[in-house]
């Protein structure tokens, strides 16, 4: 068995044990991160050049994905290459995969736990391009997998490079009439464009319908305050605000984090809106000078150690400002001046907003 296969098996076991309802000990995760990072430093020269500061392995800045190929395998073995959608720089983040097994496993189990914990499958309405129209987008890839794993049917209301408002309206009216819950998934941009285009139309989606939005505004289009957009979506679609959750993902990562409110509502608990961190991921606000964890609920820059990043680098330093809230994380936005990036920009490009 190769070293890679051993690591893959360890990671799969960690993620699968969570799916099986077992408690994942942070020490086990941390040990895996240490081992994985040490091995990755020997395989990826760029990562190997980073010096360790403190007890944790060094974290590779996300911007490095814009300038260098960060992959242990040769280009010929690429099975899928995800690129960030930033256009302010000609250099987009690139994350190449030779194997999407861990990505799929992490994405499926996280979504099942946080987005579809109460239901095996349901109808999906996606405010984003189909995977085939955006082959290098990790978001579109993930949404296509959601359609396979959780969808009784799925309609992509993004057609021919634009949001198809007529189709969206038809789908929402059909869902309304069916009395069955649906999941409306899309980028924050797309929801804003829907707000702009749907006029005074209102929908009353069935109970247990839910909304997942993702991505920021990249400073490139009309920005809507997060709370304002949340209220607008709630009113527009007739979905309680706690059933509208944000997903946090990035091209450089293989795992996603989700806001907790939907899951808590289903469980009958109440807590502050925050991101749930999958137990195979370590998310830590760090001090920008020392790169060590900040204390308590102080704001730091978000470091994410994602064990599902097997063939690139698992320890990633983002430019997002974040703080701990209870057992989760609140992402406060990207530092001004940091490279805007993320999937929701692809949608805005398609709408000609740039």
């Amino acid at each position: 068995m190769t070293t890679r296969a051993v690591f893959k098996a360890r990671i799969e076991a960690l993620i699968s044990s969570f799916e099986a309802g077992e408690r994942v000990e942070p020490a086990a995760r941390d040990g895996l991160i240490d081992d994985l990072a040490a091995w990755q430093a020997t395989r990826i020269p760029e990562y190997g050049r980073l010096q360790r500061r403190g007890v944790w392995p060094p974290a590779l800045p996300t911007d490095v994905f814009r300038f260098r190929r960060i992959a242990a395998h040769p280009v010929e073995e690429d099975r899928r290459v995800f690129r960030s959608s930033g256009t302010t720089s000609a250099e987009r983040s690139v994350h190449a995969y030779c194997d999407l097994g861990l990505y799929d496993l992490a994405a499926r189990i996280a979504a099942q736990h946080m987005l579809f914990p109460d239901i095996d499958d349901m109808r999906l309405i996606v405010l984003a391009p189909h995977e085939e129209d955006a082959l290098d987008s990790s978001l579109e890839y993930m949404l296509a997998r959601f359609a396979e794993w959780f969808g009784t049917g799925c309609t992509w209301v993004w057609r021919a490079g634009k949001l198809d408002l007529e189709l969206l309206t038809k789908e929402l009216r059909t869902a309304e009439a069916s009395g069955k819950p649906v999941a409306v998934l899309g980028t924050s941009f797309a929801f804003v464009h829907a707000e702009d285009g749907l006029g005074d139309q209102r929908f009353e989606l069935a109970p247990r319908s839910r909304v997942m939005q993702t991505g920021g505004y990249k400073g490139r289009s009309r920005q809507v305050d997060r709370e304002v957009l949340l209220r607008a979506i709630s009113v527009r679609y007739g979905v309680p605000s706690r059933w509208i959750i944000n997903e946090f993902g990035a091209t450089e990562l293989s795992s996603q984090m989700y806001e907790t409110t939907l899951r808590e509502d289903i469980d009958g608990s109440v807590g502050p809106r925050r991101l749930w961190v999958p137990p195979w991921v370590r998310a830590t606000p760090v001090d920008p000078d020392t790169l060590q964890p900040v204390e308590a609920e102080a704001v730091g820059i978000l470091r994410i150690d994602d064990t599902a990043n097997l063939d690139s680098v698992c320890c990633i330093q983002t430019s997002d400002l974040a703080k701990r809230i209870d057992d989760g994380i609140a992402v406060l936005g990207r530092a001004p001046g940091a490279t805007p990036r993320g999937c929701s920009l692809a949608a805005d490009q398609a709408l000609g907003a740039l």
């Binding site: 300038f67 730091g300 430019s319 940091a338």
Partner: protein, 403 residues
């Protein structure tokens, strides 16, 4: 606390009206008053150093250093010399403009000094729009001028309003014969577009670099080179357009750029973090710093201390740091290659610091090259420009006289 358009308009009118009285004074009188005011302000700064540190996010020693070195340039002889220079030029027969409005950026708090003192010296009244981030020092400057002489004091005032407030901006500009704008290229362009026919004196985005020739690294000079360069890097926490972002180092048989960088860190930047400590690091800058330092490690060598870092790497591509004492050292064979590496920076390059031995050749090369509008000075003085130093390729009195 911000001002609305009616307040801006009222103050502009008052300042404009005070211009006539100001011009009845001789240039010698005005230079005398301005020097007096600078001395008084220097005393005031000491008493308000903590508040200024809070307002500017610079450390107390840095605030005191910055104010002292800036105000030290406001002396009668220098001002009279400046007036003579202006008279020798093509401006001799021309009258000063009736009023200047100045829009300040917030990155270097002492920038208000030259932008206010010089127009007043030439008899031009000034209305200053201070950065909403930093109003304390401009207010102290105005108060010092008011207390020195009533004619002088009436010819300067201050307004504060949010950037992008078009109504206030129009009120600021409508009585001015020129508007001097400090800020990003985008800010300057946006304001320029809104100004219409009012002449714009643009001070857009700028960066500076340094060049250390072979003599700078020899045994007799390297100590001074390190001390001077450290001061240039640390001053204002590298937030200004005169802060060196990249230092091109001519490697010698005995010195590699990496060797020099290590000594610069140990003997220059580390001690200076005690004597002139860095101010608080904004988190947004910190996020960019983490990215920049990581890339520096991946692409070259990073030498990092508690509050500084040096990236030793090739000249291209230039990875601009977020400032705050994060500097690049790039090895070059000599001045030719250094200038070639600087060329893509174009008109955004404001100043090139260099060692004394390299200065004459660098000045000659800059004079011969239309690609550069930057001026050259010796390292150790990059952040303390003399009163008559060029501003964006122009004389400091550019725009203050009628055509």
């Amino acid at each position: 606390m911000t001002d609305d358009a009616s307040v801006v308009r009222r103050r502009a009118a008052a300042v404009l009206q005070a211009g006539a009285a100001l011009r009845t004074a001789s240039v010698e009188e005005r230079a005398h008053w301005l020097a007096q005011a600078a001395t008084a302000l220097a005393h005031e700064v000491h008493g308000k150093r903590s508040e200024l540190s809070e307002a500017t996010a610079l450390s107390v020693p840095m605030v005191e250093w910055a104010a002292r070195t800036t105000l030290a340039t406001i002396v009668e002889d220098a001002m009279l010399g400046l007036a003579r220079q202006a008279q020798r030029g093509s401006h001799r027969m021309r009258s000063p403009i009736s009023m200047l409005s100045v829009i300040l950026a917030g990155n270097v708090f002492t920038a208000s000094v030259r932008s206010v003192i010089v127009p007043l010296l030439f008899g031009v009244p000034v209305l200053v729009k201070a950065s909403s981030k930093e109003t304390l020092f401009p207010a102290m400057l105005r108060d010092a001028l008011v207390q020195t002489d009533s004619r002088l004091g009436a010819a300067i005032d201050l307004v504060v309003f949010p950037g992008g407030d078009v109504e206030c901006e129009a009120a600021l500009a409508e009585l001015a014969e020129a508007v001097s704008v400090y800020g990003s290229d985008e800010t300057v362009a946006a304001i320029g577009a809104r100004l219409g026919d009012t002449p714009l004196i643009a001070h857009g985005h700028g960066v500076s670099v340094a060049y250390c020739g072979p003599d700078a690294l020899d045994d007799a000079h390297v100590g001074n080179t390190i001390a001077d360069l450290s001061l240039d890097i640390c001053a204002y926490d590298q937030r200004g357009c005169l802060s060196p972002q990249v230092v091109y180092v001519a490697e010698t048989v005995s010195w590699s750029a990496a060797d020099f960088a290590r000594r610069l860190a140990q003997e220059g930047l580390a001690p200076m973090s005690k004597t002139l400590p860095r101010g608080r690091l904004p988190l947004s800058v910190g996020a960019n710093q983490a990215q920049w330092r990581g890339i520096a490690e991946v692409e070259g060598t990073l030498i990092a201390g508690d509050t500084y870092a040096i990236s030793v790497r090739d000249t291209q591509p230039i990875r601009w740091s977020p400032g705050f004492r994060n500097v690049t050292i790039a090895p070059v064979p000599g001045l030719d290659e250094a200038l070639r590496a600087m060329k893509p920076i174009g008109s955004n390059l404001k100043c090139i610091g260099t060692d004394s031995a390299s200065l004459p050749e660098l000045q000659a090369r800059l004079a011969d090259s239309p690609a550069f509008s930057a001026y050259a000075c010796t390292i150790g003085t990059m952040q303390t420009p003399s009163l008559d130093a060029l501003a964006d390729g122009h004389s400091i009195w550019h725009g203050l006289f009628q055509n």
